[in-house]
Every structure is written in C-alpha cells, then in structure tokens.
C-alpha cells in the first residue's frame, strides 16, 4: 500500500511538472487564423507563387473601405478627412480615394521620368516629321475640353508621353465613379477608399492594429453625432474577423460543452470531486496537445484549437469508463487493470488513424494529427496513473439503477434492427455512388472560414472600385532583376496584340514602373542631342499656329532625360508605385519572378490557346489563380483521402493483430464502417459537400467508435459488469455527441462540418455496435441482473 502510494505520489509530481511545462509552452504559443496555414509545405513552383500571393501578395494587403449612411456631400467630406488622417501613418502603405493629392509622389515620378518610362520614346518620334505629327495631335487636343487640363503639360511634353503613361495606369475604364474628386459607388450611396497595409497579409496582429487604427481615425473624422458608418472588407479584414470568430466560437463551444458534460457527469456520479476528476484527463490532454503543436509548428491555428476543445469528447470517455465500471468493494485500480487492454487498444486505433495525418503536406492537417495524438495519449496516461491516486479510498459508483434497465432492454432489442441497418447501409452506399465525385467540394474557398454575406459585400465593393480580383497572371522568371524585366518587356508585344483582339482588357507589368536598364538606355539614345532636337522642332513647327518659343521647357527636359542616371528600384522610394513593383517583381529562390496581371479576361481558354501558340511568350506561364488554387485543393483532398484510407487499413490491421480472431475483427469493424457510410450519406443529403475537415471528422468517428465496439465486444465476467460497461459507453457517447454537437452550431463552416459529422457518426457507432455486437446474450439472459 505504501509502495503504491509512493508510486502515486511520483505520478502526481510528474503530472504537475508536466502541466507547468505545458502551461509555459502554451503561453508562448501564438494563435494564427490565416488560410495559408492550411496550405502546403512543399508545393510546386507555381503553387509556391500562389501561396506567397495569398500570404503576402499585394492583394492580401488590400483593405477596401466604404463610408455610407449619410448625405453624399458628407460622405465625400468624410472620405477626405479619413484619408488625410491615414496618410503618413507607418501602418498604412498607401491610401487612395480618388483625390489626386494621394498620388502626388507617384505623379512626380511619372512626370520627371516620362522619357525613360514611356514606350512611345523612339527615334522616329523626335525627328521633324514625328514631332510635326505630335504637334498636330496637340492642336486637336487643345480644341477639346480635355485640352484645358492637358495644355499645362504641353510646353514641356508636346509628344504627350505623360498621357500615354497615365492611360496605361488607368486602363480603359477610367477608374471608379467619383463625386467632388472622391471615389464613390456607381449609385453614389457610399464613398470608397483603398488602403494598402504596410504589414503583410499573414501578420495578423499588425493587421488587427491597422484595422483598429482605421476605425479610430474614422471615429475622429465623423465626430460623435454623425450617422455615417464604416464598412471594411478584404483578406486582412476577413482573417482578423475569422480569428476573432474562431476564438469566440471555440470558447463558446467549449464552455457550453463543458457545462453540459459536467451536468451529465454530476447527474451520474453525484459528486463534485469525481466530476472534477473526470475532466482532468481531458483538460491535461488539451493543454499538452496545444503545447506539442506550439513546439512542433511554432504557432497553433485557430481551427486546430476549436477542434481540439472537442477532443474533450473523446478523452473524457476514459475517466467515464473507469468510474462507471468501478463496483463497490473493488478498488479503482483493479477496474483499470481489467479495462486497460481494451481502452489502450481503442486509443491506439485513434492514434493510428490520426498518425497518418502527421505526414500530410497540408500543415493544418498535420497540426490536427499531432494535437489529437498528444491529447489522447496524455489523457489516457493521466487516467491510468494519476486518477486512481486522487480518488477517495474505497471509491465506487452506484449501480446506474435508472439507466441500466433501459439500456439493457435497448441493447437486447437492438439486434432486431440488423436487417434495416443492412438496408440503410446499402441505400447509403447507393446514394454515395450515385452522387459520385459531387459529394466532394472542389473549391479551395470551401475551406475559407469567411461567411457568404461578407464575401458578397467584398464582391460589391470590388466591383465599385474596379479593384484587382484574383484572376489571371502571366508569370515569367529569370536569374536577375534586369533579365526578369527584359522578359516582361518582351511580353508587351503579344499582350498588346491580345488587347487589340479584345481577349484581355489590359495588363500590368513591373516594367511599366521600372523599365529594364536596356530599355531605358535605348530610350535615352532615341532622344537627339540639343542642337539637333531644336532644329527638328523648328522644322516641325512650320505651318502650325504655335508660338515659336512655346516649347522651350520641352528642349530642357529632353536634354535632362537624355543624360540623367538610369532608374533603379531605389528611384521609387516614397511612392506607392514601389509597393506595386515589389508585388509584381518578387524574389523566388535564387532568381526573380515577374508577374503580369491580366485585366478583363473574357475567354480564358482562347487566351491560353493564343499564348501557347505564340513563340514570343515562350518561357512565360499563364496562371489562373482561381483554377490553380482549386486544383491545389483537389490535390490536398486526394492526399487526405489517401491518408484516411491508409489510416482505415492501419486501424483494421491493428485490430486484427490485437483481437486475433476474424469474427471479433468483423464485429469490431462492421459498426464503424456502417456508421461512416451512413454519416457520409446523411451529411451530403443535408446539403453539405464534403471537405477535408469532414474527413478528419470521420477519422475521429472511427477513433471514438472503435472504443464502443471493442467494449461491447469484450466478454464480461458478470452481468453486473456488463451492465456497467453498457452504461459507461452510453454516457461516454452522450458526452461525445454533446461536445461535437455544440460545434455543429458554429458559424465557421469548418467547425460546423466537423461538429456535425462527429456528432452524427459517434451516435451511429454506438447504435450500430449495439445492433451488430454479438453481445453474449446467452450470459445476460441466463443469469439476469446482479
């Protein structure tokens, strides 16, 4: 007895020390919520580009802001006031609301360097003939109202290079609608702003700070009695919202589930101490799971956390088995010794199932796997070595008098349902076969935790703003920046042909903001020396009504451009064009990648065919972001499916090895298989398409369910114990269904999917274990109740 007590003492000390270490680790672990945590670790080159774009690309840094709910004049005033407050803050890389002040540094860059930037700078352009043609065009422009705005630039820019540059930037839509020089939606009901954050999209804390700052600035600009509202969307807004919502949902689910489970356990055991003890393994397991994930991955994903709370559902079972099956007059450690092989085997099946997820290239799945395995092992260890020492001496539970007869009657009647069950399983299989691949969601967005309403708002604002959507990119790579820019410039000819043929509306290129050194040198060479240019200009002016001295500024600027140092990326410092360049020209591995986003792609197939057939686009890849991300997702799903099947095979092998009887194996596996099939059929019949997370849920069903069928399958020494076993399994199952059932009410699609799958599946496992179990009916009927 003293030896046992000492051993118990050591166990408790070890446990407490473990708790402390885990607690410290958890405190250091940060929670992330970006979707990219659920993206691959070792993708292909194009997939890596996609992942980078999602994590850190220019699109991930955009916040779309709308101000609505007041008179139009007030809205435009608020837009100006808000933009003024945001500009210059280090959190904000750029603010655009249509005001031209916001682009003044950009405008200055374009204006000063127009002769190096414009593709119109060719030797022909600056001959007497070329200049004459340009001046004639200027005359025409002067006659139109547009001339009023353009004529200021004319003396220094008669060839209208700046017009060419701004045209190229605006595209042919002319930008969003505006009112008083500020962007508004087409119906004028909201003023619009585009904010580019300085922090990358995946830096949630910085994004959160930026959003709070924008809200604060808006509050100041509006004052306390304004009626205007601030609306924000964009990837950063979604990630932050999602993180908050996942945390809120996980917290709520865990509180509700814990309260319900505690209520049931209290009802069953009628002891607060036992209640606390039964939650101990689950709590320790959860803590250890989070610590393990933090240690292995650096951060824990919110979804892992939300999922993990429900691990309570499985790990609380161990304590329930122990307590419910401890009869008066027989100490708890004897119960433990009796049920240990079965429970251990049940845990091992779960661990094997989740173990396959560890090797997933989908880091989110690997996190879930590590979390579950650690949690389960720790929970069982605490049940085995810590709980018995903490139980009061001579602890035992009463015979579950009210529950037991009902359950016994139910289990006795259950086998009558074998035929209907077989029919239901066959029907479900037929339904799944009939649905075919349609039961699987094919889109990456199915993993997106963003609510549909938010997605609609985002689309509306994007339409209003003409903001870039995740569409088509032409990607080309090279060893150096110069080569990458040259490669991008080579694509200009085929792309302009595509634009003429209306296959694309336009395109952007890093070479638009920073031409290659070679192109810049060629443009400098196209500008004639001062005397020659003066002579050509004089000749060109003949017969035109311009004042002879009108273009003196042009001669000066051309000479300056001809001899100025070439532009480098440092020349862009301080402009928002710099950010644009950085997003379109990125370092990838040892080389550089130039990205050319295509606007207004109407017929992707025709576009792909044209690009494939054009020798000028050799070496460039057309990347359809939506299609690429969906195919990426399908790859994962395929992988997850393979892993799940492998897991199922491994579980079956493990059970076969442990049970060493074909009949026992069939009896253990059959309920699980039937439950999985019918759950899948039910969930899809309820209108859901299955995602990776449903697969995870099914793995969990198999893990939990194997415990039930093993316990049902095990011959018991006495009917009284049999009765307790049935009761313990029923209580455990109820707790699992409650744990996951609360998750099914989450608004996050992922949590909802897992919750529903496991709640349904776990219940079916128990029911089917009862229906299909051999039950040792003879024993029960022969001896009656003890």
């Amino acid at each position: 007895m003293t030896a046992a007590a000492r051993r118990g003492g050591w166990s408790i000390a070890l446990w407490l020390a473990g708790l402390l270490v885990c607690g410290l680790l958890v405190a250091r672990t940060s929670v992330t919520a970006d979707l990219s945590a659920f993206l691959p670790r070792s993708p292909s080159a194009t997939q890596q580009l996609l992942v980078d774009q999602l994590r850190d690309g220019v699109v991930s840094r955009l916040i779309l802001v709308a101000v609505e709910g007041d008179a139009p004049d007030r809205l435009t005033g608020l837009s100006r006031a808000l933009a003024a407050r945001l500009r210059g803050n280090p959190l904000v890389a750029a603010v655009e609301n249509g005001e031209r002040t916001g682009r003044s540094t950009d405008g200055a860059y374009l204006w000063t360097n127009r002769y190096l930037l414009s593709p119109g700078v060719t030797p022909d352009r600056f001959t007497a003939d070329g200049l004459h043609a340009a001046l004639q065009n200027d005359l025409r422009l002067l006659q139109s109202p547009a001339g009023m705005a353009l004529k200021q630039a004319l003396p220094a820019d008669p060839t209208a290079e700046i017009l060419r540059l701004t045209d190229r930037m605006l595209g042919d839509t002319g930008g969003p609608a505006s009112r008083d020089g500020v962007w508004v939606s087409a119906d004028g009901a909201r003023a619009l702003l585009l904010v580019q954050t300085a922090a990358p999209g995946f830096d949630m804390d910085a994004q959160q700070k930026t959003l709070d700052f924008i809200r604060g600035a808006f509050g100041e600009a509006r004052g306390p009695d304004g009626s205007a509202q601030l609306v924000m969307t964009g990837p950063a807004v979604f990630s932050v919202q999602t993180r908050d919502r996942i945390e809120a949902d996980a917290t709520r689910s865990s509180i509700v589930a814990t309260a319900l489970v505690a209520g049931i356990l209290l009802l069953v055991y009628r002891s607060l101490r036992v209640l606390a003890l039964s939650l101990l393994p689950a709590a320790t397991g959860t803590l250890a799971g989070i610590a393990a994930v933090g240690l292995g991955f650096g951060a824990v994903h919110g979804i892992t956390l939300g999922f993990g709370v429900t691990l309570l559902g499985e790990s609380v079972d161990y304590a329930i088995y122990l307590f419910t099956q401890t009869q008066p007059g027989s100490p708890a450690h004897r119960t433990l010794r009796r049920i240990w092989p079965t429970v251990l085997l049940g845990m091992a099946t779960s661990v094997v199932g989740f173990g396959t997820m560890l090797v997933s290239s989908f880091s989110g799945l690997a996190q879930l796997g590590l979390f579950s395995i650690t949690g389960l092992v720790v929970a069982l260890a605490v049940t085995r070595w810590v709980l018995p020492s903490l139980l009061p001496d001579g602890y035992a539970t009463e015979r579950p008098a009210r529950l037991a007869p009902v359950l016994t009657a139910l289990t006795r009647g259950a086998p009558a349902l074998r035929l209907p069950l077989a029919a239901a399983t066959l029907l479900s299989l037929a339904w799944l076969a009939f649905q075919g691949p349609a039961i699987w969601s094919a889109e990456l967005s199915s993993l997106s935790p963003v609510a549909a309403a938010d997605q609609r708002l985002d689309e509306a604002l994007r339409r209003d703003l003409g903001a870039p959507d995740a569409g088509h990119l032409l990607v080309t790579g090279a060893a150096t920046v110069e080569e990458a820019l040259t490669a991008a410039e080579r694509l200009a000819v085929p792309l302009e042909a595509l634009a003429r043929d209306r296959l694309i509306a336009g395109y952007e290129s890093p070479a638009h903001t920073l031409p290659s050194q070679a192109a810049q040198r060629a443009r400098q060479a196209a500008l004639p020396p001062p005397d020659q240019l003066r002579a050509s200009l004089a000749e060109a002016l003949q017969g035109l009504p311009f004042r002879p001295d009108a273009f003196a500024p042009f001669l000066a600027d051309a000479e300056k451009a001809r001899t100025m140092p070439l532009l480098t990326s440092a020349s862009l410092d301080g402009t928002s064009l710099k950010l644009k360049l950085d997003s379109l020209l990125v370092r990838s591995g040892t080389g550089w990648t130039a990205m050319l986003p295509l606007r207004g792609v109407t017929d992707p197939q025709a576009l792909a065919a044209r690009l494939a057939g054009d020798p000028a686009t050799q070496g460039a890849t057309l990347l359809n972001l939506k299609e690429e991300s969906d195919s990426l997702y399908r790859t994962y799903r395929q992988e997850a499916l393979t892993l799940a099947l492998l897991g199922a095979v491994a579980i079956t092998l493990l059970l076969a090895l442990a049970l060493r009887s074909f009949r026992s194996l069939v009896a253990a596996v059959m309920p699980l298989a039937a439950a999985v099939v019918i759950t899948m059929a039910l969930v899809t019949a309820l209108g859901q398409t299955l995602t990776i997370f449903h697969l995870v849920g099914l793995l969990l069903v198999v893990g939990v369910g194997s415990n039930y069928s093993l316990l049902f399958e095990r011959p018991e020494p006495s009917p009284a114990l049999r009765e307790r076993t049935v009761a313990s399994v029923a209580i455990a199952n109820l707790c699992t269904v409650i744990g996951f059932g609360t998750l099914a009410f989450s608004s996050i699609p992922v949590l909802h999917g897992i919750g529903m799958t496991v709640a349904i599946g776990a219940f079916l496992c128990l029911a089917f274990a009862a229906v299909l179990g051999r039950q040792h009916l003879a024993e029960l009927e022969g001896t009656g109740h003890g």
């Binding site: 006659q143 139109s144 109202p145 547009a146 009023m148 004529k151 002319g174 609608a177 008083d180 020089g181």
Partner: protein, 201 residues
C-alpha cells in the same frame, strides 16, 4: 444651344418671338419678377434638342485663335454629344459620369468627369443648366443672373478653389429655354466662345 422642340410649346415661342421683334425696347408683359428657378423650370421641360455650334478658342500657346464647328445633341437627363466636323472630325460624348473623346482615326479615350474637377467644372455648367438642375448649379458655382427671360445672361463663378485655379468664369447667355452662347474664361487668360444656333425643330 438648345431649343425646346416639343410641339406644344412652339406657338408660345412664336408669340414671344413676335413680341420681341415688335418692340424689344418696351418692357414685355412678362416682365414680372423672375429668377433662376423660373428659368430652370423652363429648361427642365426640354426633353431633347439639337443645335449647330461654332467655337473660337484663344490659347496663349498659339499665335492665332482656333476655330471649329459642328453639332450638339442633348437628351435628358445625362447625355450630351459634341460632334466637331471642322477642322477635324471628333466626337466628345458625355454619358453620365463618363466623358469619351473619339478622334477621327477611331482612337478613343474615356475619363470619369467627377475625378477631374477642372473638366467637371466646365461640363456641369452646361449640363446642369440644360437639365434645369438648380441644386447642382448652386453647388458648383456662384450664380448671377441678369436680363429677361427672353434675353438672359448667367454668370457662373466656380466655388471650389481648386477649380478656380483653372476656370475663372463661365458666362452663358440664352433666350427662353435655349442656350445661345457660352463663354469660358480660364485663369491663365485663355478663353473660348461658343455660339449656338438651335436647329429648326
């Protein structure tokens, strides 16, 4: 530029014209007090109209004024087209917020009027007058109206400082519900005068 071409109104116009011809010097019977509201109420009744124009632009960069001519078309509420026929064919079309300039060779350029205050200042002076839109014209300009309904002159001074840096003043003159002359005075001294001959309806 634009005369009412609704059949029902023509007899009245004819009567007024007769009156004017009969004795422009004598105060007309309609000399009761009138203002912007009355004028714009009349303009508001015009659904669509067309006219010819000749325009003279004096630009500091040039040694001689630019002359051009063509046609104008208006359709309520937001459509306005200026088709220049001489010296080069060119179409300037205003449809809602979109201003499109199409040149003879088919090249076209579109811009959002409201994003360029100096252009908007010019465009709104004509459009809000044609629409009879008092709130808009008051929002953009300080308005001084003089003369009589049969011979009015409206002086528009941009309210926004940004716009005043480009456009100093716009003078619009007309008879009844038709605009006959638009003079634009720019801050740098350049100016343009457009005279308008309504098409016989």
């Amino acid at each position: 530029m634009i005369s009412g071409n609704r059949p029902a109104r023509r007899p009245i116009l004819a009567a007024l014209a007769t009156l004017l011809l009969a004795g422009a010097a004598t105060p007309s019977p309609a000399a009761e007090p009138w203002g912007l509201e009355d004028l714009f109420a009349r303009l508001k009744q015009v659904g669509s109209s067309s006219a010819r124009f000749t325009e003279t632009r004096e630009v500091g960069l040039l040694t001689a004024p630019l002359e051009s001519s063509g046609t104008l078309t208006y359709r309520r509420p937001d459509f306005l087209e200026k088709r220049t026929l001489r010296p080069q064919a060119e179409i300037l079309r205003l449809d809602g917020d979109r201003l499109t300039l199409t040149q003879a060779d088919g090249a076209s350029r579109t811009l959002s009027v409201s994003s360029m205050p100096e252009i908007q200042t010019y465009v709104e002076s004509i459009r809000s007058t044609l629409r009879g839109d008092v709130p808009t014209v008051m929002r953009f300009y300080e308005v001084v109206l003089e003369g009589t309904l049969q011979d009015w002159r409206m002086q528009l001074t941009p309210r926004a400082e940004e716009a005043r840096r480009i456009v100093q003043r716009i003078d619009i003159a007309g008879r009844d519900a038709s605009i006959r002359r638009i003079e634009l005075l720019q801050a740098d001294g350049d100016r343009s005068i457009m005279t308008i001959q309504p098409d016989p309806a």
